[in-house]
Point group: D2
Chain length 295, copies 4
């Protein structure tokens, strides 16, 4: 599995409480046209934790259909029980995903052995590359670099790490432990500049829904070693990156899309949409970066 | 809703991956016979987060049936979406529960307004007392004493707080904010002595499955102001309280039940059962406290 | 060394930047008259970290002189270097202290071996009981219950622990590790009720400077097993206990003393005195508890 | 005050418990010859918190004498009381320092107003540029980016920030709040690559005592936008940077100097020197980077 660059994370659009399939198709095509290097539905941004099985399947299917032949698709397949996670990964495989992204959701904190068993079960059941996703803030469990590297090394399908802990030392440690062999992706927006400088293979982010151009420019500047330009474009988009993270990505990205003319609905309750003050602040931030535009 | 004393939390027994109804009935009756003052199925201990809707309903129904006429039943009705939480509370009502216990599960961290809306929706939809449950370790969100008191004061059905944050100052604060009017229950086992001394109305705990006698003795000693005896019985059971919490209540309580001759199965994957070393340690701890015995 | 009950911590009164010896004598006698069971100068409350050697000596000498024949005196003898700490303990001994209290100040975080060496050096150099003081918030280092118990067990002079970490589980752990043999004192005001219920030998506190009567009443109620009364007097004084801790004990206690007619001056810069709003709030809190009064 | 690049932090060499002046002169000249862009004695690495006034003065004087005409000298002038800090800054000025570095030491946590007053007093008393130093791990207080920027903007002499909190977002925030106008230096070794990529004016570090060549190479690579080479030299030195930080800079750097043939003695008690195992590990790490060598 070769994957690098800016991976765009999709929100799940709703209308009347149901998946809005036409808007989903539109958003996927818009992101592809923007130039992102990959797409990922059904992650944190996609409110996957709040969807039922049927809804999950609709989003997965539609995304794969639209991406085929354009960019790789990494489908989120996280669940509290191992049985359900295996089931989602099987569905992702059947639908034609290029990879799945799996986070170890937890109610009771999982011990290392439990996390390992969870990934092992998925890896054994489904022949599909797995991106291992560490996001303690949402998942309630923190995978150490040592464990992440062990999952990649000892299991067949895990191939890359998405690190969203917001601790750059984790990336250093992964780099060291793997001798630079294991690709890691940044999943914490406000660390994008540093993660890419530290050698990240890419940036997994919901921001391209709104500002793909500046996201991609940052990636390009770092690839070219133009640190001055990288800093300029990073600091330009940083307030917006911070804002959308702090307000909850589903709510803020959906509001931003609405400001850009796309009606993706509101997040599912108990999540609330961005309030009017927040929306105004977001509009101002959007005006301060490069407009969304097809590449 | 009058509730006080030791409220026993049930594990959910499995056999071949399904709910083991006969063992569930046995466990309920055994706890009632032990003298606990109330029962609560489908909490954290009950692996409710890992059950599907049908399983949840079986456990709820069976527990209510067995408790009727003996002790009040508080059913766990927590879910990630508001719609689902309302639905569970409605079922609990229909089945004859005395109250529901609701924790604000979260994937995206909920803001205060979102938490309030979640409880308001349940309170409006279902005419049943609600115990508000704060457990940041498992739920990924921490409800301040101010918010907890506000939920009780401004909504119709919330009537009591279960505090499991492990911070005694929260109980002080609830006491102060409510002028001692709002009942709070301790949900963090190793704080039982202090919480009861600080004025808790009771203790919500899975420990009675294994050591109801010592749990009840602690409650009685504190009620009688016999601090010396309370300390003795508390320090006697503390290592066991700490052990079952640290190892994950479903795994440790099920192992303990097995040691006491009751086969409640193992927790659901990815949760693993207690390993042999842990089981041996647990057996030693059980030997150091009062044996489980009907009152 | 027998020590138990409420140990009053003295502020260091200044006038024109110098130690105010007459006021110090007055404060000591006032505390003795209030009925406290021991006195401690030159602790955190006494701004010992901000005094030079000569000032330290004046305060130590005066306190010992006034207490002789009345209550035991535990002098704070903490310093960043081992040499200086030994030197202070030697002076305390020479001046007639009953014990010293030693916290492991740290700039570079001390490892366990370094902490042990520090206490060992003092214990070997000076024949005086040592109270080991854990206060991570001010000292920048956190001594585990295991280390605290080891210091008491393996060294000659350490005899008791003052725990100010604000974690009741530490006290449980000390109780367990020492089989209830090692006396521990509560040093975190808002935990006073719970610490005493959990078996603390006493309460080290600056509060008696302002509200000795309520502090002593709490102690007495717990001794008598009257939990209802203990809770009442504890919750009555809790807002004040919290206030003086949060605002910094030297500043708040000096303001409170001023409200009670005693001019102990202001804390040493960069510490600032309580501002007018804070002073007004403190006055209101003082009016809500039992007035300071000789026993 | 123009300052940028790699600023070397000196240890304080002892012999028989006294300052070893000849070794200090040697170390200063060796660092100047290595090519560092500035020198700083009496910081955390220099054990300034453990020195008496006379010792502080010897180190300050000797360093200034040797650096004159070669590189700027930034002298650490931190103290618990404002009076003492002013006094140290005055001495630094009299001795000919180019700037002072001031951290807000704290026993009682300082509030923002107290920190501001502390820096204001020094700025008013002494006509010398001040580097404001934030290091919560050693100082026990954490200065927000907002406060740091305010100190620079509203006071006359503060001109730059040394950030050692280990949180790259602080540097982003300083950059944003100051519109990129306020120079900030990285003070947390394992963040050197990212801090420089994020726009830091330099790197304040004790590492040049041992590996000046690799430190300077990192600086040069980032300046030239050669990220590939920067990553290579950074990841090469990272294990050593982490090791010397984790073991306490005074102890580890002195051991490393000893391995390089310079006897700077041991840290002052209670600090202990690196043990034999640690020394062996350090030797191995030193063998894996570029040897210390004059430029």
């Amino acid at each position: 599995m070769k994957l690098s660059g800016v991976i765009g994370y999709l929100v799940t659009p709703f209308v009347d409480g149901f998946i809005n399939e036409p808007v989903l198709r539109l958003m996927v095509n818009r992101l592809i046209a923007s130039g992102v290097h990959g797409l990922s539905p059904l992650g944190s941004t996609g409110e996957s934790a709040y969807l039922n099985d049927e809804e999950w399947e609709v989003v997965a299917r539609v995304t794969v259909e639209e991406c085929r032949g354009h960019v790789p698709v990494v489908i989120g397949a996280s669940a509290l029980t191992t049985r359900k996670a295996v089931n989602l990964a099987q569905k992702a495989k059947a639908l034609g995903a290029d990879a799945v992204m799996v986070a170890p959701l937890s109610y009771w904190k999982l011990r290392e052995q439990e996390v390992f068993g969870h990934y092992a079960a998925i890896s054994e059941a489904v022949d599909l590359p797995i991106m291992v996703y560490n996001n303690p803030a949402t998942c309630g469990i923190d995978l150490s670099p040592e464990l992440l590297v062990k999952l990649i090394r000892q299991l067949e399908h895990p191939f890359a790490i998405k690190e969203s802990s917001g601790d750059i030392q984790r990336m250093h440690r992964i780099q060291e432990l793997s001798g630079g062999e294991i690709p890691f992706f940044n999943g914490c927006n406000p660390f994008a500049l540093e993660a890419l400088c530290a050698g990240a293979s890419g940036w997994c982010t919901a921001a391209p829904n709104l500002i793909a151009r500046d996201n991609l420019m940052l990636w390009d500047c770092v690839q070219q070693g133009d640190l001055k330009a990288a800093r300029d474009v990073f600091y330009r988009q940083l307030p917006l990156l911070r804002f959308i993270l702090k307000g909850g990505l589903p709510a803020t990205v959906k509001s931003g899309l609405s400001l850009q003319g796309i009606d993706a609905g509101v997040p599912r309750l108990p999540l609330l949409p961005l309030d009017p003050d927040g929306t105004q602040a977001l509009a101002a931030l959007l005006a301060s970066v490069s407009p969304f535009e097809e590449a």
